[in-house]
Symmetry: C2
Subunit: 415 residues, 2 copies
């Protein structure tokens, strides 16, 4: 009997409690483990909850109880979660979390602390919800070099973009609907500005490189400026819009560098990632030697995410801690990340009609050539695509030469 | 330094040797392990091979060498592989295999033996090549009940069916091309008759149920009777043909039963599984609580499969054996599998034109109703679909009532 505590009784914490209660027998049969939830830490009261009697408001009761060997942190946010996670680790308790904000911002310190204490800090549920993504990187692909990763990792954005593409909605309508259905927060900034997708990419990049990548090191563009017309342009080209977290590995001699970017991109409607519609997530990984792998599933939701937490709990409790299995991220080496301006991209640019072709060519000289496409909004705007290996810096400088009143949007193309 | 032996220096064994040699540094950096291939067992000589000096023809040199702690079995087939695997386990060496035929036919005995010896017998590479399928079932979904699994697990068949669907080829042409490209064996029977897909389903069913399911317990239909006209019918309905290994879990009270079937089915062109084209594999898993997960990747090939072998090698060497982590399959309980005739299906039936509608209804009475669809081969044949929950037994008896000269084909529909 493994006694655990759950810190944070919200959607995911509630899901973990539910599974520990309702799936006890099948969990025990399948894993050989029996989990007993001794404490649930939350400042709110939950009258009528089947486990109302286990709710505590004082975290010390958890840290000071030697019976508790594992703590689930599903509080979200940083301040309190950070402090309580450290105290749980200091008390030599394993910690399993779904908190991507905390892992991306303080992962190195918390992993180091766990390592020194000889306990696990695990975070499968922080990226991709119920998709077995981190375990795949950690175990199944242990013999592989990750060359490239493209992930649709934010269900809220994907839901909104799906609505723009397939139901002809405007951004505001789609967001309101996502909020009404509980897919988006009242304050949707972290989702629609791409911060959540950026945190997840930061965690993936840290795992892949073994060096701590803070989300601030990543160029992040969200989808709040995207609207139906972008989806129309995409559709006219047989493509659709996705917010994609991208990792590219570049090797030259002994040197390995990573290009990291979160941005709305156009993918071909036949692209594997297009199976992720609505709130679903999908990740395509290109690795050496395994080639292309795609993982798809529910990226959020109480029970899928709780299922990933349980997976970590079982993994942690079934494997005695050893130095080899303890994870650490070293400091990020200077020059490990490709500067944003040096990343290569193929872009699509929407420009209002009215410029002469001579003016256009002269303004956009820095693109080193482009191709004009037919626009579904003919007469109103031009669409052009750049060479496939354009540096972001040159794209930026070309755009800055364009008279502001003509510029509509840059969208990147995923090959 | 972990000394290993590779038994069978074919495609996959060669891939494992290649990775151990060419990826030594990155393997060591990522896993903390260093593998040294001490022996390669093969009856053939490999003059000029970089490791020609490690090739042995006498297996005893491996079993009797106390330095060797892990043996990779990539021989394929049963007779010798079975004997050598047993002897390796008896000598207390871990065994990692890609041999689905052996695992499906003797898995219980070999897992039992490994368990008694306190070593691992692992087989990730036996199902789905480079796709992290077994590790997902074993670890990531440890807290889940598997409700349903649909797998495209045979690349040869999927290649042939893709060619029928998209390049208007006939079966024989597609098979010949697959053979020329090395995707099909000279004797393609195990692939095109569905035996390979059946073995893989048997392994998955054994893992999911914890009880040993011999491939003979599974109703298996291959694709050798399928041809271009079936693909045309599929396309006219917005569907495509796939050979799918299916598992359905049925719970009634405390009783859990599994329906297992391998058959060519029609899937909607928008179905997630349709991303598997050519030799690629894909598996969709519906589980409680995680809902739908899809895994996609290369189901065969030297390096993808060798990557899965390496994943197992790392997993085995980084986790001291414990009773909890040792896997065993118990005997299959009577009544655990739903009898073929009791499995439920929705079928599409192709019938030659000429029967009056009265005759048709009377012959097909056992279907309990059907719907006539428009056929792309109008005048020549009729297409009808059955109710969605028709028992296979009733389908069979309805077909047996139909005058033989009118019957063309039954294809099942995947919902």
């Amino acid at each position: 009997m493994i006694k655990i505590a759950i810190m944070g009784y919200g959607v995911v914490g509630g899901g973990v409690a539910y599974l520990c209660r309702e799936k006890r027998e099948s969990l025990e049969r399948k894993s050989g483990l029996s989990f007993s939830v001794k404490y649930i830490l939350d400042q709110k009261a939950f009258p009528g909850d089947p486990w109302a009697d286990r709710i505590v408001t004082d975290p010390d009761s958890i840290f000071e109880d030697p019976e508790v060997s594992l703590v689930v942190e599903t509080m979200g946010g940083i301040t309190a979660a950070y402090e309580y996670t450290k105290r749980a680790l200091l008390a030599k308790k394993h910690v399993v979390t779904s908190n991507k904000e905390l892992v991306s911002h303080h992962g190195k310190e918390l992993l180091d602390l766990a390592y020194r204490q000889g306990v696990y800090y695990r975070y499968e549920a922080a990226v991709g919800g119920g998709i077995p993504l981190l375990v795949t990187l950690r175990e199944a692909l242990a013999a592989n070099d990750i060359l490239r990763l493209d992930g649709i990792l934010n269900g809220t954005c994907n839901y909104i973009l799906t609505k723009l593409s397939y139901e002809d909605m405007r951004f505001d309508e789609a967001l309101t609907q996502a909020q009404r259905l509980g897919y988006a927060e009242r304050n949707p900034e972290a989702d629609v500005e791409g911060l959540d997708a950026g945190r997840k990419l930061a965690i993936l990049a840290s795992m892949v490189s073994g060096e701590w990548v803070h989300p601030e090191k990543i160029h992040i563009e969200g989808i709040s400026h995207i609207d139906r017309e972008d989806a129309e342009v995409a559709a006219s080209l047989g493509k659709e819009l996705k917010l994609v977290s991208m990792l590219r590995t570049k090797k030259s001699g002994d040197k390995t560098q990573y290009g990291l970017l979160v941005a709305p991109v156009l993918i071909d409607s036949e692209h594997n990632l297009s199976i992720a519609q609505g709130v679903y997530n999908a990740v395509q990984i290109t690795a050496d030697p395994v080639e292309d792998i795609l993982l798809y599933g529910p990226g959020a939701g109480a029970l899928p995410t709780a299922s990933a937490v349980l997976g970590d709990m079982i993994e942690v409790c079934n494997h005695e801690w050893t130095e080899e299995r303890g994870e650490q991220w070293t400091d990020l080496k200077e020059d490990r990340l490709i500067a944003y301006g040096d990343q290569e991209v193929r872009a699509l640019i929407r420009i209002k009609s009215g410029l002469s072709s001579g003016d256009l060519s002269s303004h956009l000289r820095d693109l080193g050539g482009f191709e004009l496409l037919e626009s579904p909004l003919e007469g109103e705007e031009l669409i052009l695509t750049t060479n496939p290996k354009l540096r972001e810096g040159r794209l930026e400088s070309a755009i800055s030469e364009l008279p502001e009143e003509y510029f509509i949007r840059v969208l990147r193309l995923l090959d």
